[in-house]
Symmetry: C2
Protein backbone atom coordinates (compact mmCIF):
# COMPACT_ATOMS: atom_id res chain seq x y z
CA UNK A 1 0.00 0.00 0.00
CA UNK A 2 1.34 3.47 -0.82
CA UNK A 3 2.23 5.73 2.10
CA UNK A 4 -0.53 8.18 1.16
CA UNK A 5 -4.00 7.32 -0.12
CA UNK A 6 -5.49 10.30 -1.94
CA UNK A 7 -9.14 10.85 -0.98
CA UNK A 8 -9.85 14.06 -2.89
CA UNK A 9 -8.12 16.65 -5.06
CA UNK A 10 -9.89 19.92 -5.91
CA UNK A 11 -8.75 23.01 -7.75
CA UNK A 12 -8.69 26.07 -5.48
CA UNK A 13 -7.10 29.47 -6.22
CA UNK A 14 -5.04 27.86 -8.97
CA UNK A 15 -3.61 25.25 -6.58
CA UNK A 16 -4.85 21.95 -5.20
CA UNK A 17 -6.87 21.28 -2.05
CA UNK A 18 -6.18 17.63 -1.28
CA UNK A 19 -7.17 15.10 1.35
CA UNK A 20 -5.17 12.01 2.24
CA UNK A 21 -5.42 8.94 4.46
CA UNK A 22 -2.44 7.08 5.89
CA UNK A 23 -1.45 4.58 8.58
CA UNK A 24 0.10 6.40 11.53
CA UNK A 25 2.62 4.33 13.49
CA UNK A 26 2.81 6.91 16.25
CA UNK A 27 -0.96 7.07 16.72
CA UNK A 28 -1.52 3.38 15.98
CA UNK A 29 -4.50 4.04 13.70
CA UNK A 30 -5.55 5.21 10.25
CA UNK A 31 -5.56 9.01 9.96
CA UNK A 32 -6.76 11.63 7.49
CA UNK A 33 -5.34 15.06 6.84
CA UNK A 34 -5.71 17.89 4.30
CA UNK A 35 -3.07 19.74 2.34
CA UNK A 36 -3.31 22.82 0.19
CA UNK A 37 -0.60 22.93 -2.46
CA UNK A 38 -0.18 26.41 -3.96
CA UNK A 39 0.36 26.76 -7.72
CA UNK A 40 4.13 27.15 -7.15
CA UNK A 41 4.30 23.54 -5.92
CA UNK A 42 4.11 22.44 -9.55
CA UNK A 43 7.60 23.85 -10.14
CA UNK A 44 9.51 23.43 -6.87
CA UNK A 45 9.31 22.32 -3.26
CA UNK A 46 7.44 24.92 -1.24
CA UNK A 47 7.53 25.75 2.50
CA UNK A 48 4.60 24.70 4.68
CA UNK A 49 2.45 26.21 7.38
CA UNK A 50 1.07 23.56 9.73
CA UNK A 51 -2.38 24.42 11.05
CA UNK A 52 -3.65 22.84 14.29
CA UNK A 53 -7.41 23.05 14.76
CA UNK A 54 -9.44 23.37 17.95
CA UNK A 55 -11.81 21.17 19.93
CA UNK A 56 -14.36 19.15 17.90
CA UNK A 57 -12.68 19.94 14.56
CA UNK A 58 -11.10 17.66 12.03
CA UNK A 59 -8.97 18.65 9.04
CA UNK A 60 -11.94 19.97 7.04
CA UNK A 61 -13.08 22.93 9.16
CA UNK A 62 -10.07 25.14 8.54
CA UNK A 63 -9.89 24.03 4.92
CA UNK A 64 -13.48 25.08 4.24
CA UNK A 65 -13.97 28.10 6.48
CA UNK A 66 -10.79 30.12 7.04
CA UNK A 67 -10.17 31.38 3.52
CA UNK A 68 -6.43 30.81 3.99
CA UNK A 69 -5.72 29.34 0.58
CA UNK A 70 -6.02 32.64 -1.30
CA UNK A 71 -2.96 34.21 0.31
CA UNK A 72 -1.17 30.84 0.54
CA UNK A 73 -1.52 30.65 -3.26
CA UNK A 74 -0.20 34.18 -3.68
CA UNK A 75 2.81 33.60 -1.42
CA UNK A 76 3.60 30.03 -2.44
CA UNK A 77 3.10 28.44 0.98
CA UNK A 78 1.54 25.00 1.43
CA UNK A 79 -0.97 24.40 4.23
CA UNK A 80 -0.77 21.11 6.13
CA UNK A 81 -3.93 20.54 8.17
CA UNK A 82 -3.99 17.48 10.44
CA UNK A 83 -6.85 16.03 12.45
CA UNK A 84 -7.16 16.89 16.15
CA UNK A 85 -6.92 13.39 17.64
CA UNK A 86 -6.39 9.76 16.74
CA UNK A 87 -9.50 8.26 15.14
CA UNK A 88 -11.30 4.97 14.75
CA UNK A 89 -13.53 2.56 16.64
CA UNK A 90 -10.57 1.14 18.55
CA UNK A 91 -9.46 4.56 19.88
CA UNK A 92 -10.74 5.26 23.42
CA UNK A 93 -12.93 8.35 23.83
CA UNK A 94 -14.12 10.39 26.78
CA UNK A 95 -16.27 8.08 28.95
CA UNK A 96 -19.20 10.48 28.63
CA UNK A 97 -18.41 11.42 25.02
CA UNK A 98 -17.64 15.01 26.07
CA UNK A 99 -16.42 17.39 23.37
CA UNK A 100 -13.36 18.49 25.34
CA UNK A 101 -11.53 15.17 25.83
CA UNK A 102 -10.80 12.12 23.68
CA UNK A 103 -11.86 12.08 20.02
CA UNK A 104 -11.50 15.54 18.48
CA UNK A 105 -9.62 16.71 21.57
CA UNK A 106 -6.12 15.21 21.58
CA UNK A 107 -4.58 18.41 22.99
CA UNK A 108 -1.33 17.76 21.10
CA UNK A 109 0.30 15.89 24.01
CA UNK A 110 1.94 12.46 24.31
CA UNK A 111 -0.39 10.60 26.66
CA UNK A 112 1.06 8.40 29.39
CA UNK A 113 -2.17 7.25 31.05
CA UNK A 114 -4.06 4.08 30.16
CA UNK A 115 -6.11 3.57 28.02
CA UNK A 116 -5.09 6.68 26.08
CA UNK A 117 -1.32 6.21 25.80
CA UNK A 118 -1.60 3.58 23.05
CA UNK A 119 -3.06 6.12 20.60
CA UNK A 120 -2.96 9.68 21.92
CA UNK A 121 0.57 10.68 20.88
CA UNK A 122 -0.47 13.78 19.00
CA UNK A 123 2.67 15.76 19.93
CA UNK A 124 4.95 13.30 18.18
CA UNK A 125 2.54 12.92 15.29
CA UNK A 126 2.45 16.65 14.58
CA UNK A 127 6.07 17.47 15.35
CA UNK A 128 7.73 14.43 13.78
CA UNK A 129 5.77 11.75 11.94
CA UNK A 130 3.51 13.93 9.79
CA UNK A 131 6.24 16.34 8.58
CA UNK A 132 8.51 13.42 7.65
CA UNK A 133 5.67 11.81 5.73
CA UNK A 134 4.47 14.85 3.78
CA UNK A 135 7.98 16.09 3.04
CA UNK A 136 8.83 12.68 1.56
CA UNK A 137 5.64 12.27 -0.43
CA UNK A 138 4.63 15.81 -1.50
CA UNK A 139 6.49 18.78 -3.05
CA UNK A 140 7.27 20.38 0.31
CA UNK A 141 10.58 21.76 1.52
CA UNK A 142 11.68 21.37 5.13
CA UNK A 143 10.91 25.03 5.87
CA UNK A 144 8.03 24.90 8.36
CA UNK A 145 5.96 27.29 10.43
CA UNK A 146 3.05 26.43 12.66
CA UNK A 147 -0.21 28.03 13.75
CA UNK A 148 -3.53 27.05 15.25
CA UNK A 149 -6.76 28.01 16.98
CA UNK A 150 -7.77 27.56 20.62
CA UNK A 151 -6.62 24.01 21.55
CA UNK A 152 -4.62 24.15 18.30
CA UNK A 153 -3.09 27.50 19.28
CA UNK A 154 -1.93 25.82 22.48
CA UNK A 155 -0.51 22.96 20.40
CA UNK A 156 1.26 25.27 17.97
CA UNK A 157 2.87 27.35 20.73
CA UNK A 158 3.97 24.30 22.77
CA UNK A 159 5.42 22.45 19.80
CA UNK A 160 7.18 25.54 18.42
CA UNK A 161 8.67 26.49 21.79
CA UNK A 162 9.92 22.95 22.45
CA UNK A 163 11.08 22.28 18.88
CA UNK A 164 12.08 25.79 17.92
CA UNK A 165 14.88 24.66 15.61
CA UNK A 166 12.31 22.89 13.45
CA UNK A 167 10.06 25.92 12.83
CA UNK A 168 10.67 29.37 11.34
CA UNK A 169 7.79 31.11 13.16
CA UNK A 170 4.68 30.42 15.21
CA UNK A 171 1.31 32.10 15.56
CA UNK A 172 -1.99 31.43 17.27
CA UNK A 173 -5.62 32.54 17.30
CA UNK A 174 -7.21 32.60 20.75
CA UNK A 175 -4.86 29.91 22.14
CA UNK A 176 -5.39 28.06 25.40
CA UNK A 177 -2.37 29.89 26.72
CA UNK A 178 -2.02 28.45 30.20
CA UNK A 179 -3.74 25.05 30.21
CA UNK A 180 -2.50 24.05 33.65
CA UNK A 181 -4.69 26.84 35.05
CA UNK A 182 -7.93 26.43 33.08
CA UNK A 183 -10.74 23.84 33.13
CA UNK A 184 -10.21 22.54 29.57
CA UNK A 185 -6.48 22.10 30.18
CA UNK A 186 -6.79 20.58 33.63
CA UNK A 187 -9.28 17.97 32.43
CA UNK A 188 -7.18 17.03 29.41
CA UNK A 189 -3.82 17.01 31.16
CA UNK A 190 -5.19 14.91 34.02
CA UNK A 191 -6.74 12.45 31.60
CA UNK A 192 -3.75 12.09 29.28
CA UNK A 193 -0.83 12.66 31.69
CA UNK A 194 -2.18 11.75 35.15
CA UNK A 195 -2.62 13.70 38.33
CA UNK A 196 1.02 14.62 38.88
CA UNK A 197 1.02 18.25 37.76
CA UNK A 198 4.77 18.31 37.30
CA UNK A 199 4.25 16.37 34.07
CA UNK A 200 1.84 19.02 32.80
CA UNK A 201 4.46 21.80 32.65
CA UNK A 202 5.98 20.47 29.43
CA UNK A 203 2.69 21.10 27.63
CA UNK A 204 1.94 24.62 28.86
CA UNK A 205 3.00 27.49 26.58
CA UNK A 206 3.14 30.05 29.38
CA UNK A 207 5.37 27.82 31.51
CA UNK A 208 7.65 27.08 28.57
CA UNK A 209 7.88 30.72 27.49
CA UNK A 210 8.70 31.90 31.01
CA UNK A 211 11.46 29.30 31.37
CA UNK A 212 13.39 30.09 28.23
CA UNK A 213 13.70 32.96 25.78
CA UNK A 214 11.93 32.15 22.53
CA UNK A 215 14.20 31.88 19.51
CA UNK A 216 11.46 32.28 16.92
CA UNK A 217 8.93 35.05 16.25
CA UNK A 218 5.48 34.71 17.87
CA UNK A 219 2.21 36.37 16.81
CA UNK A 220 -1.03 35.90 18.78
CA UNK A 221 -4.47 37.32 17.97
CA UNK A 222 -7.25 37.31 20.56
CA UNK A 223 -10.78 38.66 20.20
CA UNK A 224 -12.06 40.62 23.20
CA UNK A 225 -15.64 39.33 22.69
CA UNK A 226 -14.44 35.71 22.88
CA UNK A 227 -16.78 33.80 25.19
CA UNK A 228 -13.88 31.65 26.46
CA UNK A 229 -11.40 34.46 27.05
CA UNK A 230 -11.36 34.82 30.83
CA UNK A 231 -11.97 31.25 31.93
CA UNK A 232 -10.09 29.17 29.36
CA UNK A 233 -7.67 31.21 27.25
CA UNK A 234 -5.73 33.56 29.55
CA UNK A 235 -3.48 35.39 27.05
CA UNK A 236 -2.26 37.58 29.93
CA UNK A 237 -0.32 34.59 31.24
CA UNK A 238 1.48 34.24 27.93
CA UNK A 239 2.28 37.94 27.87
CA UNK A 240 3.65 37.82 31.42
CA UNK A 241 5.77 34.80 30.52
CA UNK A 242 7.25 36.61 27.54
CA UNK A 243 8.28 39.46 29.82
CA UNK A 244 9.93 37.09 32.28
CA UNK A 245 12.08 35.44 29.61
CA UNK A 246 12.59 38.57 27.52
CA UNK A 247 10.90 36.94 24.53
CA UNK A 248 9.36 38.86 21.66
CA UNK A 249 5.63 38.21 21.55
CA UNK A 250 3.20 40.24 19.51
CA UNK A 251 -0.18 39.87 21.21
CA UNK A 252 -3.01 41.71 19.44
CA UNK A 253 -6.39 42.18 21.11
CA UNK A 254 -9.02 42.46 18.38
CA UNK A 255 -12.06 44.44 19.50
CA UNK A 256 -15.45 42.81 19.03
CA UNK A 257 -14.25 39.46 17.68
CA UNK A 258 -15.44 36.14 19.12
CA UNK A 259 -14.01 32.59 19.13
CA UNK A 260 -15.38 31.51 15.72
CA UNK A 261 -13.92 30.86 12.29
CA UNK A 262 -15.17 34.34 11.33
CA UNK A 263 -12.47 35.67 13.68
CA UNK A 264 -9.86 33.42 12.06
CA UNK A 265 -10.97 34.41 8.55
CA UNK A 266 -10.64 38.09 9.41
CA UNK A 267 -6.96 37.82 10.36
CA UNK A 268 -5.56 34.74 8.62
CA UNK A 269 -4.08 36.93 5.89
CA UNK A 270 -1.99 38.78 8.50
CA UNK A 271 -0.75 35.45 9.88
CA UNK A 272 0.18 34.08 6.47
CA UNK A 273 2.13 37.23 5.62
CA UNK A 274 3.81 37.08 9.04
CA UNK A 275 4.92 33.49 8.44
CA UNK A 276 5.87 34.34 4.87
CA UNK A 277 8.48 36.78 6.16
CA UNK A 278 10.31 33.87 7.82
CA UNK A 279 9.41 30.97 5.52
CA UNK A 280 10.28 32.56 2.20
CA UNK A 281 13.52 33.94 0.79
CA UNK A 282 13.31 37.73 1.02
CA UNK A 283 13.90 39.65 -2.18
CA UNK B 1 -43.30 40.94 17.63
CA UNK B 2 -40.61 42.90 15.73
CA UNK B 3 -40.33 42.25 11.99
CA UNK B 4 -36.84 40.79 12.43
CA UNK B 5 -35.66 38.54 15.27
CA UNK B 6 -31.86 38.65 15.54
CA UNK B 7 -30.38 35.18 16.05
CA UNK B 8 -26.67 36.01 15.91
CA UNK B 9 -24.33 38.92 15.31
CA UNK B 10 -20.60 38.29 14.81
CA UNK B 11 -17.73 40.60 13.93
CA UNK B 12 -16.16 39.73 10.56
CA UNK B 13 -13.69 41.81 8.54
CA UNK B 14 -14.68 44.86 10.55
CA UNK B 15 -18.38 44.42 9.71
CA UNK B 16 -21.18 42.26 11.08
CA UNK B 17 -22.26 38.78 10.04
CA UNK B 18 -25.84 38.52 11.25
CA UNK B 19 -28.62 35.97 11.17
CA UNK B 20 -32.31 36.77 11.43
CA UNK B 21 -35.66 35.00 11.66
CA UNK B 22 -38.97 36.44 10.44
CA UNK B 23 -42.50 35.48 9.49
CA UNK B 24 -42.85 35.30 5.72
CA UNK B 25 -46.35 36.04 4.43
CA UNK B 26 -45.44 34.95 0.92
CA UNK B 27 -44.04 31.61 2.06
CA UNK B 28 -46.54 31.17 4.87
CA UNK B 29 -43.89 30.04 7.39
CA UNK B 30 -41.09 31.26 9.64
CA UNK B 31 -37.82 31.82 7.74
CA UNK B 32 -34.19 32.48 8.55
CA UNK B 33 -31.64 34.39 6.49
CA UNK B 34 -28.14 35.81 6.89
CA UNK B 35 -26.83 39.29 6.17
CA UNK B 36 -23.30 40.62 6.08
CA UNK B 37 -23.16 44.34 6.81
CA UNK B 38 -19.86 45.91 5.76
CA UNK B 39 -18.22 48.51 8.03
CA UNK B 40 -19.60 51.31 5.83
CA UNK B 41 -23.16 50.37 6.91
CA UNK B 42 -22.48 52.12 10.20
CA UNK B 43 -22.45 55.48 8.37
CA UNK B 44 -24.90 55.16 5.50
CA UNK B 45 -27.23 52.85 3.61
CA UNK B 46 -25.19 50.47 1.47
CA UNK B 47 -26.10 48.55 -1.70
CA UNK B 48 -26.70 44.80 -1.47
CA UNK B 49 -25.75 41.70 -3.37
CA UNK B 50 -28.37 38.96 -2.97
CA UNK B 51 -26.86 35.47 -2.99
CA UNK B 52 -29.00 32.45 -3.89
CA UNK B 53 -27.55 29.11 -2.79
CA UNK B 54 -27.82 25.70 -4.41
CA UNK B 55 -29.53 22.40 -3.61
CA UNK B 56 -29.34 21.23 0.04
CA UNK B 57 -27.96 24.58 1.29
CA UNK B 58 -29.41 27.04 3.73
CA UNK B 59 -28.18 30.58 4.43
CA UNK B 60 -25.12 29.39 6.35
CA UNK B 61 -23.13 27.58 3.65
CA UNK B 62 -22.22 30.64 1.60
CA UNK B 63 -21.70 32.70 4.74
CA UNK B 64 -19.14 30.25 6.14
CA UNK B 65 -17.40 28.92 3.05
CA UNK B 66 -17.22 31.42 0.20
CA UNK B 67 -14.96 34.04 1.75
CA UNK B 68 -17.08 36.78 0.19
CA UNK B 69 -17.16 39.11 3.15
CA UNK B 70 -13.54 40.30 2.78
CA UNK B 71 -14.13 42.08 -0.52
CA UNK B 72 -17.69 43.05 0.46
CA UNK B 73 -16.14 44.88 3.43
CA UNK B 74 -13.58 46.58 1.20
CA UNK B 75 -16.17 47.73 -1.35
CA UNK B 76 -18.97 48.55 1.08
CA UNK B 77 -21.51 46.06 -0.28
CA UNK B 78 -23.92 44.14 1.96
CA UNK B 79 -24.60 40.45 1.33
CA UNK B 80 -28.17 39.19 1.74
CA UNK B 81 -28.25 35.39 1.89
CA UNK B 82 -31.69 33.73 2.01
CA UNK B 83 -32.58 30.11 2.56
CA UNK B 84 -33.30 27.86 -0.44
CA UNK B 85 -36.91 26.87 0.34
CA UNK B 86 -39.71 27.43 2.80
CA UNK B 87 -39.07 25.60 6.07
CA UNK B 88 -40.94 24.00 8.94
CA UNK B 89 -42.81 20.85 9.86
CA UNK B 90 -45.93 22.06 8.07
CA UNK B 91 -44.11 22.60 4.75
CA UNK B 92 -44.50 19.64 2.34
CA UNK B 93 -41.28 17.93 1.23
CA UNK B 94 -40.35 15.52 -1.54
CA UNK B 95 -42.33 12.30 -0.89
CA UNK B 96 -39.06 10.32 -0.78
CA UNK B 97 -37.10 13.10 0.94
CA UNK B 98 -34.89 13.53 -2.14
CA UNK B 99 -32.28 16.30 -2.03
CA UNK B 100 -33.39 17.83 -5.35
CA UNK B 101 -37.03 18.69 -4.60
CA UNK B 102 -38.93 20.17 -1.66
CA UNK B 103 -37.03 21.34 1.42
CA UNK B 104 -33.68 22.86 0.45
CA UNK B 105 -34.73 22.81 -3.20
CA UNK B 106 -37.32 25.52 -3.82
CA UNK B 107 -35.90 26.32 -7.27
CA UNK B 108 -36.93 29.99 -6.91
CA UNK B 109 -40.30 29.51 -8.63
CA UNK B 110 -43.88 30.32 -7.61
CA UNK B 111 -45.49 26.90 -7.28
CA UNK B 112 -48.99 26.33 -8.64
CA UNK B 113 -49.36 22.63 -7.83
CA UNK B 114 -50.85 21.24 -4.62
CA UNK B 115 -49.62 20.69 -1.96
CA UNK B 116 -46.65 22.94 -2.73
CA UNK B 117 -48.37 26.15 -3.83
CA UNK B 118 -49.30 27.16 -0.27
CA UNK B 119 -45.61 27.59 0.68
CA UNK B 120 -43.26 27.33 -2.30
CA UNK B 121 -43.41 30.93 -3.57
CA UNK B 122 -39.66 31.46 -3.53
CA UNK B 123 -39.64 33.71 -6.61
CA UNK B 124 -41.82 36.31 -4.93
CA UNK B 125 -39.99 35.89 -1.64
CA UNK B 126 -36.60 36.62 -3.18
CA UNK B 127 -37.66 39.25 -5.70
CA UNK B 128 -40.16 41.18 -3.56
CA UNK B 129 -40.83 40.31 0.08
CA UNK B 130 -37.27 39.90 1.34
CA UNK B 131 -35.84 43.08 -0.29
CA UNK B 132 -38.74 45.14 1.08
CA UNK B 133 -38.16 43.70 4.55
CA UNK B 134 -34.39 44.14 4.75
CA UNK B 135 -34.44 47.57 3.11
CA UNK B 136 -36.96 48.72 5.73
CA UNK B 137 -35.22 47.18 8.73
CA UNK B 138 -31.49 47.33 7.93
CA UNK B 139 -29.12 50.05 6.62
CA UNK B 140 -29.50 48.97 2.98
CA UNK B 141 -30.17 51.17 -0.02
CA UNK B 142 -32.42 50.01 -2.86
CA UNK B 143 -29.43 49.36 -5.12
CA UNK B 144 -29.45 45.58 -5.65
CA UNK B 145 -27.51 42.99 -7.59
CA UNK B 146 -28.01 39.24 -7.52
CA UNK B 147 -25.85 36.13 -7.84
CA UNK B 148 -25.99 32.46 -6.98
CA UNK B 149 -24.66 28.94 -7.41
CA UNK B 150 -26.15 26.03 -9.35
CA UNK B 151 -29.90 26.06 -8.51
CA UNK B 152 -29.20 29.53 -7.09
CA UNK B 153 -27.45 30.59 -10.30
CA UNK B 154 -30.61 29.60 -12.14
CA UNK B 155 -32.66 31.61 -9.65
CA UNK B 156 -30.44 34.68 -9.94
CA UNK B 157 -30.53 34.68 -13.73
CA UNK B 158 -34.29 34.11 -13.96
CA UNK B 159 -35.15 36.77 -11.40
CA UNK B 160 -32.73 39.32 -12.86
CA UNK B 161 -33.93 38.76 -16.42
CA UNK B 162 -37.59 39.03 -15.43
CA UNK B 163 -37.13 41.92 -12.98
CA UNK B 164 -34.24 43.66 -14.68
CA UNK B 165 -35.30 47.11 -13.54
CA UNK B 166 -34.85 46.03 -9.94
CA UNK B 167 -31.22 44.86 -10.25
CA UNK B 168 -28.02 46.56 -11.36
CA UNK B 169 -26.21 43.37 -12.46
CA UNK B 170 -26.41 39.59 -12.25
CA UNK B 171 -23.83 36.80 -12.04
CA UNK B 172 -23.82 33.06 -11.51
CA UNK B 173 -21.52 30.20 -10.66
CA UNK B 174 -22.29 26.96 -12.51
CA UNK B 175 -25.98 27.82 -12.97
CA UNK B 176 -28.65 25.36 -14.07
CA UNK B 177 -28.86 27.31 -17.29
CA UNK B 178 -31.64 25.50 -19.12
CA UNK B 179 -33.76 23.71 -16.50
CA UNK B 180 -36.52 22.71 -18.94
CA UNK B 181 -33.93 20.41 -20.58
CA UNK B 182 -32.17 18.82 -17.60
CA UNK B 183 -33.25 16.20 -15.02
CA UNK B 184 -33.04 18.48 -11.95
CA UNK B 185 -35.10 21.16 -13.68
CA UNK B 186 -37.68 18.81 -15.21
CA UNK B 187 -38.35 17.15 -11.85
CA UNK B 188 -38.69 20.47 -10.02
CA UNK B 189 -40.74 22.25 -12.67
CA UNK B 190 -43.12 19.29 -12.97
CA UNK B 191 -43.53 19.12 -9.22
CA UNK B 192 -44.02 22.83 -8.60
CA UNK B 193 -45.70 23.95 -11.86
CA UNK B 194 -47.34 20.82 -13.27
CA UNK B 195 -46.92 18.85 -16.47
CA UNK B 196 -47.81 21.65 -18.89
CA UNK B 197 -44.35 22.65 -20.10
CA UNK B 198 -45.60 26.02 -21.38
CA UNK B 199 -45.60 27.18 -17.75
CA UNK B 200 -41.97 26.21 -17.32
CA UNK B 201 -40.66 28.72 -19.86
CA UNK B 202 -41.00 31.64 -17.43
CA UNK B 203 -38.44 30.01 -15.14
CA UNK B 204 -35.75 29.08 -17.67
CA UNK B 205 -32.88 31.55 -18.07
CA UNK B 206 -32.00 30.36 -21.58
CA UNK B 207 -35.58 30.74 -22.78
CA UNK B 208 -35.85 34.20 -21.20
CA UNK B 209 -32.51 35.38 -22.55
CA UNK B 210 -33.32 34.21 -26.09
CA UNK B 211 -36.70 35.98 -26.01
CA UNK B 212 -35.51 39.41 -25.02
CA UNK B 213 -32.25 41.34 -24.99
CA UNK B 214 -30.90 41.63 -21.48
CA UNK B 215 -30.74 45.15 -20.10
CA UNK B 216 -28.25 44.40 -17.33
CA UNK B 217 -24.70 43.00 -17.37
CA UNK B 218 -24.33 39.22 -16.89
CA UNK B 219 -21.23 37.30 -15.69
CA UNK B 220 -21.17 33.49 -15.49
CA UNK B 221 -18.31 31.28 -14.29
CA UNK B 222 -18.32 27.55 -14.99
CA UNK B 223 -15.66 24.98 -14.02
CA UNK B 224 -14.80 22.48 -16.74
CA UNK B 225 -14.26 19.68 -14.18
CA UNK B 226 -17.77 20.16 -12.78
CA UNK B 227 -19.41 16.75 -12.41
CA UNK B 228 -22.82 18.19 -13.31
CA UNK B 229 -21.74 20.21 -16.34
CA UNK B 230 -23.02 18.16 -19.27
CA UNK B 231 -26.18 16.65 -17.80
CA UNK B 232 -27.56 19.42 -15.57
CA UNK B 233 -25.93 22.80 -16.20
CA UNK B 234 -25.71 23.35 -20.00
CA UNK B 235 -24.06 26.81 -20.14
CA UNK B 236 -23.91 26.44 -23.94
CA UNK B 237 -27.70 26.96 -24.02
CA UNK B 238 -27.30 30.26 -22.20
CA UNK B 239 -24.55 31.36 -24.56
CA UNK B 240 -26.66 30.47 -27.61
CA UNK B 241 -29.59 32.39 -26.12
CA UNK B 242 -27.45 35.47 -25.62
CA UNK B 243 -26.45 35.35 -29.29
CA UNK B 244 -30.07 35.05 -30.41
CA UNK B 245 -31.15 38.13 -28.46
CA UNK B 246 -27.93 40.07 -28.93
CA UNK B 247 -27.38 40.18 -25.16
CA UNK B 248 -24.01 40.73 -23.54
CA UNK B 249 -23.02 37.66 -21.55
CA UNK B 250 -19.54 37.03 -20.21
CA UNK B 251 -19.24 33.26 -19.82
CA UNK B 252 -15.89 32.13 -18.41
CA UNK B 253 -14.89 28.46 -18.47
CA UNK B 254 -12.50 27.86 -15.57
CA UNK B 255 -10.14 24.96 -16.23
CA UNK B 256 -9.94 22.26 -13.56
CA UNK B 257 -12.61 23.64 -11.23
CA UNK B 258 -15.47 21.50 -9.91
CA UNK B 259 -18.96 22.29 -8.52
CA UNK B 260 -17.90 22.95 -4.91
CA UNK B 261 -17.56 26.00 -2.68
CA UNK B 262 -13.81 25.89 -3.44
CA UNK B 263 -14.75 26.94 -6.99
CA UNK B 264 -16.96 29.75 -5.64
CA UNK B 265 -14.25 30.90 -3.21
CA UNK B 266 -11.71 31.10 -6.02
CA UNK B 267 -13.77 33.55 -8.10
CA UNK B 268 -16.12 35.33 -5.70
CA UNK B 269 -13.77 38.33 -5.58
CA UNK B 270 -14.16 38.77 -9.35
CA UNK B 271 -17.94 38.65 -9.00
CA UNK B 272 -18.00 41.18 -6.16
CA UNK B 273 -15.82 43.60 -8.13
CA UNK B 274 -18.04 43.05 -11.19
CA UNK B 275 -21.17 43.91 -9.20
CA UNK B 276 -19.38 46.78 -7.51
CA UNK B 277 -18.93 48.47 -10.89
CA UNK B 278 -22.73 48.72 -11.21
CA UNK B 279 -23.80 48.97 -7.56
CA UNK B 280 -21.44 51.71 -6.44
CA UNK B 281 -21.01 55.30 -7.57
CA UNK B 282 -17.93 55.45 -9.78
CA UNK B 283 -15.27 57.95 -8.83
Amino acid sequence: MPALEKISDQRLFGGRQMRFAHDSKVLNCRMQFSVYLPPQAGQKDVPALYWLSGLTCNDENFSAKAGAQRVAAELGIALVIPDTSPRGDQVPDDPEGAYDFGLGAGFYVNATEAPFASHYQMYDYIAKELPALVEAELPLSTQRSISGHSMGGHGALVIALRESGRYCSVSAFAPISNPIHCPWGQKALTGYLGKDESHWQHFDASVLLAEKQATLPILVDQGDADQFLAEQLKPEALLAASTISGSELELRIQPGYDHSYYFIASFIEDHLRFHGRYLLPQS
